[in-house]
C-alpha cells in the first residue's frame, strides 16, 4: 500500500537481531515470559503462570535469531483486526493487543508478514505479541541477551536494510 501521511515514518526504537551473535540459547524467551508475568518472578512465572513468550526464535544449523513484532508503520495486524483490540499507538509507535478485547480470530496472524504474532500456548483465545516491554524502558529480551545479539535502537537512515 502506498500512503501519504503527515509525518514521515514514525521514529521509534525497535529491536534488531544480530544473527552473527545469536546463540539460539532462548534466554530471550525465558526472560520474556518472566517479564510478562504477574509475579515478575522468573521461577514462578514459568512454574505457576501460563505465559506465552512474545519472541520467536528461528534457528537452523548454526544460524539463529530472535524475532519480535516489528511494530510496522502500517501495522497490517491492526488494520486487519476485527475487534479493534490490536492498535498502533500513534505516539509511541508500539503495536499492542488488548487481550480483553481479543477474541482469538487469528486475523492478525494472517496479516503479519513477519509471523511475529503467536496464538496463546495455553489454549486461550487470545494472541500474544511483543509490546517492547513498554513499562520497563528496555525490552527484557534485549537486556538479558547474554551475547548482545539483540539491540534496541532507532535506526539511522543508512542502517536500514543492512546490519
Amino acid at each position: 500500500m502506498q500512503e501519504s501521511r503527515r509525518e514521515e515514518t514514525l521514529r521509534m526504537k525497535r529491536i534488531y537481531a544480530l544473527e552473527e551473535h545469536c546463540l539460539g540459547c532462548k534466554l530471550c524467551e525465558v526472560y520474556c515470559v518472566a517479564s510478562h508475568s504477574v509475579s515478575k518472578d522468573l521461577v514462578k512465572a514459568h512454574k505457576t503462570e501460563e505465559i506465552t513468550p512474545r519472541v520467536i526464535i528461528e534457528s537452523s544449523g548454526d544460524t539463529s535469531f530472535a524475532l519480535q513484532c516489528r511494530h510496522c508503520d502500517d501495522a497490517p495486524c491492526a488494520r486487519a483486526c476485527i475487534t479493534g483490540a490490536m492498535q498502533k499507538d500513534p505516539v509511541t509507535g508500539i503495536v499492542s493487543c488488548d487481550s480483553e478485547r481479543c477474541v482469538g480470530c487469528w486475523t492478525c496472524i494472517m496479516a503479519c508478514p513477519y509471523g511475529a504474532i503467536r496464538r496463546d500456548k495455553y489454549g486461550r483465545s487470545i494472541i500474544s505479541k511483543c509490546d517492547l516491554c513498554a513499562e520497563e524502558g528496555e525490552p527484557s529480551c534485549v537486556s538479558h541477551c547474554p551475547n548482545n545479539a539483540l539491540i534496541y535502537k532507532e535506526l539511522e537512515a543508512n542502517e536500514r536494510g543492512v546490519e
Binding site: 537481531a17 486487519a80 476485527i82 475487534t83 479493534g84 477474541v103 508478514p113
Partner: protein, 430 residues
C-alpha cells in the same frame, strides 16, 4: 474541509482514521442507518454464541467520535445525493453538504427468491440486529423448553459461523449447501472435507449439493423443503448464501459495474469528490488482475484508510486486494488467502501454476501453497496457522520463490528460509 462518510463499519472507520492522518481539523460527518456505535460485524457470531458480551462488540472506544471530531448521524438514511450542490438529503429531513463524500455502505445479504421466506423465523446473519433477533428466538425456545433445531442455507463463512454459534447455543444445526463442499470459495476439496468432518464431530449436519426451495410450516415449526425433495423440520432458519454490495440508490451519476461501485486504486468513483470503499465497492484484485468486490474486513478497512487519506488531499493508493480469511470453528483454525485452487483450465494449460500440499489426517492438519510462475498466489493453512502471515506477505511481495519451494510447507518455515540479504532487508527496515 467538510467530509461526509456514509457507513459506520470497517471502511467508514478506516476513512475517519485516514482523514485524521492528514487533516486534524476538517469536519467529519458519519451517517449510518444502524443505531449502533462503531461495532464489529464479524463479532456477531461470537455474540450469538455467548463468547463475547455486547459491550465487547465495539470496534473502537466509546469516545471514538469525540476523539476524532466526528459527528455521527446514527439511525438515519441518505435518500439522495446531489453532486451538483454537493448536498445530501436524509430520511430525517436533515440536509447535509460535503466537500468530499465516501460511500461505505457495505454489503447486504443476498436472499435468493424462496417461497415462504418472509416467515418470522427466517433470518439473515450480517448485522447486530440479526444476532439480537436470533437470540430472542433462542431465548423464546428455551423458555418453552423446546430443543431447538436450526437449518442454515449456505456453508460459507457466515453460514458456518452461524452454525457454530447455534451449536454453542445448544441447538441442533443442519447446513444445506448447494455446492459439493463447504467453504467452496476459500477451501479446496481436501481442506473442506477435513473441516467438514471436524464440524460434524461437533454436531453440525450437512446436506451438500442441495438447496432450499420453500419454507413451510408456521413460525414455531418451520418445514424446509429441499430441492432434492427432502423436508427438514426446524424452529429457525438462517439464510447465508452470500452478500452483495449495498449500493444505495441515491445518485444516478455513479458507474456501477457488474457487482459494485467502480473505483480506481485511489478509491475514487466516476464522480468527482465521491469515493467508495469496502464491500460496496469494486476494487482491484491483484492476483486475479481484475476488479471485483472483495467483501472482507481488512480489505474494507484498508480501502477506507486510503480513501480517507485521498479525501484529505493525500495521494494514497491500494492495490493489494486479494481474498484472505482467518477463521476458526470449534478451535480449529484456518487461514487461507489468494487463489487456493487454480482454475482447472489454467492447470491444464500449464499456465505456470504449481501446487504443493502436505498434511496429516490424524492431526487434522493440511497445508497447501499455490505458486504461479514461482510466485506465491495462494495458500491454505488448516489447523497449522502459525506464522501464516509470512505467506500472506509473500503474496504481496510477488518475489520469486524458486529456491524456497521445498521449505514453504515446512513447520519451520520462517525468515531463516529466506536468503540472508532478503531477510536483512526485511528485518532492518527501521
Amino acid at each position: 474541509m467538510n467530509y461526509v462518510i456514509i457507513g459506520n463499519s470497517a471502511a467508514g472507520i478506516g476513512a475517519v482514521e485516514g482523514i485524521r492522518l492528514l487533516d486534524r481539523d476538517g469536519k467529519i460527518t458519519v451517517i449510518s442507518s444502524e443505531q449502533e456505535h462503531v461495532y464489529s460485524r464479524p463479532l456477531i457470531s461470537y455474540y450469538l454464541s455467548g463468547q463475547v458480551e455486547l459491550a465487547k462488540l465495539k470496534y473502537r472506544p466509546d469516545n471514538f467520535y469525540e476523539q476524532n471530531g466526528v459527528e455521527a448521524l446514527l439511525g438515519d438514511r441518505v435518500l439522495r445525493v446531489a453532486p451538483a450542490e454537493k448536498g445530501l438529503e436524509l430520511q430525517s429531513g436533515q440536509r447535509v453538504t460535503y466537500d468530499k463524500l465516501l460511500i461505505a455502505t457495505g454489503g447486504q445479504p443476498f436472499i435468493p427468491p424462496l417461497k415462504g421466506q418472509s416467515g418470522e423465523n427466517v433470518f439473515s446473519f450480517t448485522k447486530l440486529d440479526d444476532a439480537r433477533s436470533l437470540l430472542a428466538q433462542i431465548k423464546d425456545l428455551k423458555e418453552k423448553k423446546i430443543e431447538g433445531q436450526a437449518v442454515i442455507l449456505g456453508a460459507g463463512l457466515i453460514g458456518l459461523k452461524a452454525a457454530e454459534a447455534l451449536i454453542k447455543a445448544k441447538l441442533k444445526v443442519t447446513v444445506v449447501e448447494l455446492s459439493e463442499r463447504i467453504l467452496s470459495t476459500i477451501l479446496d476439496e481436501q481442506a473442506a472435507a477435513l473441516l467438514q468432518s471436524h464440524l460434524e464431530e461437533h454436531g453440525v449436519d450437512f446436506i451438500l449439493g442441495d438447496t432450499i426451495t420453500e419454507f413451510g410450516g408456521n413460525s414455531n415449526h418451520l418445514k424446509v423443503n429441499l430441492k432434492s425433495g427432502g423436508i427438514l423440520d426446524c424452529n429457525l432458519a438462517v439464510i447465508a448464501v452470500g452478500v452483495k454490495p449495498n449500493i444505495p440508490n441515491i445518485t444516478d451519476n455513479l458507474i456501477v459495474s457488474k457487482q459494485g461501485l467502480l473505483i480506481n486504486q485511489q478509491m475514487e468513483t466516476s464522480q468527482a469528490d465521491i469515493y467508495a470503499a469496502g464491500d460496496v465497492a469494486e476494487g482491484y484484485d491483484m492476483l486475479k488482475g481484475l476488479r471485483r468486490v472483495i467483501p472482507l474486513w481488512p480489505n474494507a478497512y484498508n480501502q477506507g484508510l486510503v480513501a480517507g487519506q485521498n479525501m484529505a488531499g493525500g495521494n494514497a493508493s491500494y492495490d493489494e486486494g486479494f481474498a484472505r480469511n482467518a477463521i476458526s470453528f470449534f478451535g480449529l483454525p484456518v487461514i487461507t488467502a489468494g487463489i487456493i485452487d487454480p482454475p482447472a483450465e489454467d492447470l491444464a494449460a500449464k499456465a505456470g501454476y504449481e501446487v504443493l500440499t502436505t498434511g496429516c489426517l490424524e492431526k487434522k492438519t493440511y497445508k497447501k501453497v499455490v505458486l504461479r510462475e514461482n510466485r506465491m498466489v495462494g495458500f491454505i493453512n488448516l489447523n497449522a496457522v502459525d506464522r501464516a502471515g509470512i505467506l500472506t506477505g509473500l503474496i504481496k511481495e510477488k518475489r520469486d520463490l524458486g529456491g524456497l519451494k521445498d521449505q514453504l510447507l515446512s513447520n519451520d518455515f520462517g525468515y531463516l528460509s529466506f536468503a540472508e540479504e532478503w531477510r536483512r532487508e526485511k528485518l532492518w527496515k527501521g
